[in-house]
Symmetry: C2
Subunit: 193 residues, 2 copies
DNA sequence: TTAATTCGTTGACAAATGTCAACGTTCTTT
DNA sequence: AAAGAACGTTGACATTTGTCAACGAATTAA
């Protein structure tokens, strides 16, 4: 189960991992299975763990006054789940995170994560991840103020085609900030062209 | 001119700065004056410098096919300017950055920034900044998919009242992702309540 | 000082999106 | 196998937002 993570770390760093490094990593990341719809984190809690998804699909979302859900993130295997702000600042999160599909994850606490910073490949990977995360958020902000829904959907389909295969359209619609009806019509228009 | 930066670094870190640290910082950050509307960075270039704004106001924006500008960021003194992705990845930026008001900035190259990582307070500040930046982007993504314009504007007015005083409304509108006419009407409705 | 821009507002209308209801299909669960 | 739920689509209509034009006030430049 940890092999996927080790492979992932190697591919996101340039320095080598010693046997003892791998040992330490294996001990720090605890395997956990999540049933369909099982919460990994609920709004109001402090996010105690980051999860590396080995298998499955998860979503991060808020719920507003009217009970409507807003997807801020959709993730599948090879990606991470957890609210960064809550995790690093130890403040209560406003997001729920749950498993959309039955999932297998490797979870780690903040303390253990800090321990692992002593491993060069780990800290390298972490900062690379932080960068990529920030770049992706920046692009999403930019497209949200610049592009019509049609383009936002097309870009998503091109950049992350896996997400369209794994999540139903009403979650994709929420992720894009529109209703499922609007996305349905936008898709209809796109096909015509 | 550097005093403001030093004060800023101190307030964003817990470790002390030695005299030689301050010396090194002063040498790494080069003062630069920008006239009104002068470019700090143009789309297509690689962002060679990060700028700490000592005085003035700057904006970061893209320009689409139709010539419309989209403000991804509005910053004033005590904030930073520069496209993080271009700066760290050495890729061409898609954003223009220019001075909205006459400004004084302190600029630093990536190489010099890396040098400064040896100063604990500096690296501490940098990671704190990265975090705050990511948290702010996350919030903006969330509000863009969850909140109506009215609430987005009210939140902005509450969180960053300075921005409303320093930038004209059509730039604020662009920052929120709506036209100036829409913002004008939204404000009108807000006042009635 | 005068002339030219920029800025914010407003009205009329078009376009995009949301809301609500209905429907058939597919997928789950029993 | 049957029943229920989830999903995606469509229509009718309301609401929001965009577009274009015009206007006056404030700001800037000549």
């Amino acid at each position: 189960m940890h092999e996927f993570l080790i492979k992932y770390i190697k591919s996101h760093s340039t320095t080598l991992l010693s046997e003892s490094d791998i040992q330490l990593i294996n001990e720090s990341f605890i395997p956990k299975k999540l049933r369909k719809r099982q919460y990994f984190q609920q709004a109001g809690e402090v996010c105690k763990y980051m999860a590396f998804i080995v298998k499955g699909a998860m979503r991060q979302y808020s719920v507003d006054d009217k009970g409507a859900e807003h997807m801020v993130r959709l993730s599948i295997e090879g990606w991470w789940a957890g609210d960064r702000e809550s995790f690093t600042m130890l403040t209560p999160t406003i997001y729920n995170i749950d498993a959309w599909e039955e999932s297998e994850v490797l979870i780690i606490t903040k303390a253990d994560m800090n321990q692992l910073r002593s491993i060069p490949a780990m800290s390298e990977m972490a900062s690379q991840l932080d960068n990529n995360h920030a770049f992706a958020l920046q692009k999403r902000v930019h497209s949200s103020i610049s592009d019509p829904v049609e383009k936002r959907y097309a870009d998503l389909a091109k950049t992350y085609p896996q997400l369209l295969e794994r999540f139903p359209q009403h979650l994709i619609a929420s992720y894009l900030g529109v209703t499922k009806e609007t996305l349905s019509r936008v898709r209809h228009n796109l096909i015509k062209k």
